[in-house]
Amino acid sequence: MNSMNLRKAVVGVLVCLFSLPVVYGQIHEKEKEFYRISTVPVPENIAMEVGGLALMQDGSMAVATRRGDVWIVSNPSLERGTPPVIQLFAQGLHEPLGLAYLGGDLYTAQRGELTKLSDTNGDRVADVYETVYSWPVSGHYHEYSFGPLITPDTSFFVTGNVAFGNEEWWRGESRVPWRGWIFKITKDRELEPWATGVRSPAGYGFINGELFYTDNQGDWIGSGGLWHVPKGAFMGHPAGLRWSQREESPVKISEEEFYTHLDKRQVRVNGAYVKPENVMNEENPAFLYQKKEVIPELQLPAVILPHGILGISNSEIIVDETGGVFGPFEGQVFIGDQGQSKIMRVDLEKINGQYQGVAFDFRSGFQSGVMRLEWDRKGHLFVGETNRGWGSAGTKNSGLQFVTWTGKMPFEMQTVKAKPDGFEVSFTMPVDKKSAEDLDSYVGKSYIYKYHAAYGSPQTNIEEVKLKGVKVSEDGMSVRIVADNLRQYHLHEFALQGIKSREGGEPLLHNFFYYTLNNIPQGDKLGMSELSTFRSSLVKKPAPKTTRRARSSRNSVLSDDEIQPLLAKNTCLACHMKDQQLVGPSYAAVAKRKYSNERIVELIYNPEPKNWPEYATPMAPMPQVPKEEALKIAAWINAIDD
């Protein structure tokens, strides 16, 4: 029954460029036992819309805001119960979206330049605003610049958003050189283009000394994710290719060549460009991995963060290097999300020389959009927040908070590794063997996202993962999941819904994992004899007494338990609950409207917000819900009896 709460999936109600406020469920009430969010008290008149965070030498936290200020927060983690002191270090910057500390100075990327902020007279107020490098911008609102990231040789990485078309307001374009690029400002203050194909590269950082970045769903980007960015890589969005034929470009593919491989979908009808939309039931959709065969520079996401589930606008990347102070995830990667106001957790591995890995939910319930992450020296994870006019699950427009491990061990999947025949899941504490050996404790599916000019992609080529069996380790700290139909390049999503901890019989705090299987490793497979194939559902039991009518016997209406996976999978639960109003009306309220099942399906595909004027957030069209599932959901709704 509580599977309803097991996944905090907030649907990305992203229609075109617009995201709408979303509401988070109650998972953060459980998360806070293990990871506590504290709010740094900020004076009422300061709009702390955080664009950048940098830990300073003395332990203060420097905070750059979208309002152009840089604040220095002394005692940011409220040591010994004492308040912070917040002082203005610099002001008047042009929407700085990053901050770095080097040699006593702060560096920030404004929209149009990299700036060094120096205090030369010792009063802790910047008096020199030095232009390190001024790059072109056209002045389009979406031309945000992020960074810098300081390299070991004290160069600076900077990333730049694309602009959008005037008439084709949905089409990302690069109006001036190096928009839609990741570039380096060298020590000699030269601009060195590094990679292109980025659309909205708000988060980037080093993992294992290599550059990674996150991007958001959008045109040409089916879902957000985490990408490895070697020099000369092409991340997938064609806008920046406009400059790839320049001498200094390390990327070779030209814009013209790109469009010989992929359909630009630039069509005029009745004198107006038509916005490309997802083609339902498309016969031969393009996928990144196929196009990589003809565009070798094309970089597959190392980890897909499925849109609407693990964020809708991924941001900062940060590696846990706290040596265990922050809990059991040393060496793993945390990734923020603005729209869903939460932090995800990622663990990478390298298979066949390529990065891939697993993603989980980690912590939700921040007061605004999670934009920046930074450690202090005590192992607090500082979270700089803003929703910058895009809306966020956290309803405030700004915030400075930090996360502390309470010291209590959460029951979590510690990590997931790919195996030749499936996955190996390890846990933070021993699992109850009986529950872990039951195949009914696991539900898996795999899918992929399209690579096309439309905004985002539905989950495509969805297929259930067929389990052959599982093997639980002696100590109960890991499980091998063996499956028949692993699919390379696809995202494998598993719910470990039945797993319980050995001590206390607790369910997993977050029971979903999402593994991006770019490569299936070689090696030995487990023999059938080693596997448990037990399914508790196949054991004869007396017929369960249901209090609900309309069990599957009649009209094949699903029970509450049976409908949950469908509601979860299709991200319905992000906005709807059975009996309670959430973002949208409760299903019971929908049932009262006495729509036919077919009409409900129609409304899933093409919602009519006017039917629910008291709800501020209009429902997004959900054409990706398979019709048979939509019908089952509709039948279940109509069977709700109040």
Partner: protein, 630 residues
Amino acid sequence: MKKHFTLTLLAVGLVVFQVLAQTQVPLEDMSSFREQAGNWQIVGDVIMDRSLDIHHDAEPEPQKKKKKKKKKNSEEPKRKAVTFTPGTGILLNMNDDVVKDHLVTTWEHGDVELELDVMIPKGSNSGIYLQGRYEVQLLDSWGVKQPRYGDLGGIYRNWETEPSLMLKGVPPTSNPAKAPGLWQHMKIRFRAPRFDEGGNKVANARFDFVEINGVRVHNNVEVALPTGGPIAKEEVARGPLMIQGDHGPVAFKNIEYTPLEASKVTLTDLKYEVYEGSFQNLGEMTDLEPVASGEAEEIDILVIGEEDRYGIVYNGKINIPEDDEYTFRMGYTGGFRLSVDGRAISEVNSNAARSQPIETVSLKKGSYDFELANIKNAPWHQPRLGLFVNSPSTDVKTFHHYDSYPLSEDFVAPILVNPGDRPRILRAFVNHEGGEKLVHTVGVGHPQQVNFIYDQDRADWVAAWRGDFVDATPMWHSRGNGSFRPRGAALWNDLSFSFAELADANAAFPRPEEKGAYSQKGYQLDPATGMPVFKHHYKGVEVTDALSPDPEGRYLQRKLTFSQGGLLNWYVKLAAGDVEQMPDGSFAIADRSFYINVLSGGAARVREVDGMKELVLPISGAEVNYEIIW
């Protein structure tokens, strides 16, 4: 997302012609005015020496204005505050103690829009009385920080003591006054008092707005009684314009007025058809059957009864009462097309846009086919459709139901930025005079209320204004567009580089796109003042550039330094536009919209490049100092 589109003027059928509603007061002779003592005359040019007060004991207190004043005009200076040349085109008052009549027009007006240019010498005082009764003050208010009702643009008080007869003055909401001797632009829209059939006043006189130098300083201000010194105390439906002539010299040109009346434009035979569908563009409605239709008195999007995925087409007649220029302002969500006589006047062929396009077209008297089509397929937008029409001689008339386009639709709580006790620096994109977008621009607001925008791509100031600093709402509200707006009457500079090594004395200054050897280095804050000193690197020379207000906070001083002296063929561009040298040695630029006054660093000279006049300064030392005065 704003759509930009241009309207090609309606060529055939809707002929462009001279608009008759607006009247230019001919300043060839005095025939537009009643007889006066002779202090008013028509002249060819007026020079006002910005540094000379018209009195030797200037009386800055405007309260004393209406009281009898003792003239102490004893000393005769070598330079005169005001000189003129014969000719036509400018109306000038030069009163003395005896010859000091007010000037009254031979024509009378009721509701009117008045536009003129005015030049006020240092220390002078005048006023424009609408209907001879309601005065908008003219005063040399240059640099006044907290303007009062007696400053330029103030609506004056009267001097009654009985409470029911007292009229409080209304100060301008800001002070856009320019320096003495510069032309200043005023635009006033006045609404006369209304009377019932018995002659009883039923509505007060009202200034719909007063604008000075493009800045609105009054918005819908009622005047319950005549201000002090009216032509007559009783209020009337029509009266002459009167200009005060007894308190000092003042000059006018380009006086234009437009009588206003209620709009007689009507929509008749209005019918609508409603469509349903996920429309991508306006053309998709063409072949569909309407799901509903009806007759209408006015435009009302709510008749559809749908929130989204709709289309509606209104058809009818628009009746144009007289030949004139008609301005159509749309409010909509989704996309729309407005057609008159079968031609699209205004169109945004989208299904998800939202804007307020304004188009002006010339229409001849007559009845034309009218069609307004609207679609929306964007659930995040409310249904909205509104149409406003006005002409130069009429106020705005609304052709939609209130709820179809509610008034508050286009407003958000503004985010205003001002300096505190230290200068406020803020970078943002800037639309240069509302046009070209400048991107590496830094705004500087000074506590003395002298503000400027510096463009690092040009190493030059690009705008300067007094008063409040900037409106950052466009940058910070919601996701924003990265730009801010000056909150005062901005003086815009031209857009070439500020300094350069030129191949010869007649070579043009480079534009930023050809900057080459130049690189910007940011700025350093002066520890004493908190003001930025901008730094540049150009051809091996370090250049610093500091702009700051004069001690009284009225204008800007600029100091450029160069790390090397003896720079041959290096020039500073001081200004572009018409240049006149004034009696005090400074230069008036662009039809006297501002002054450049060189203090040191070389001798300025006028040159012409590509048909454009420029004031340039060959650099003779390592430092250049000059003033920008407006």
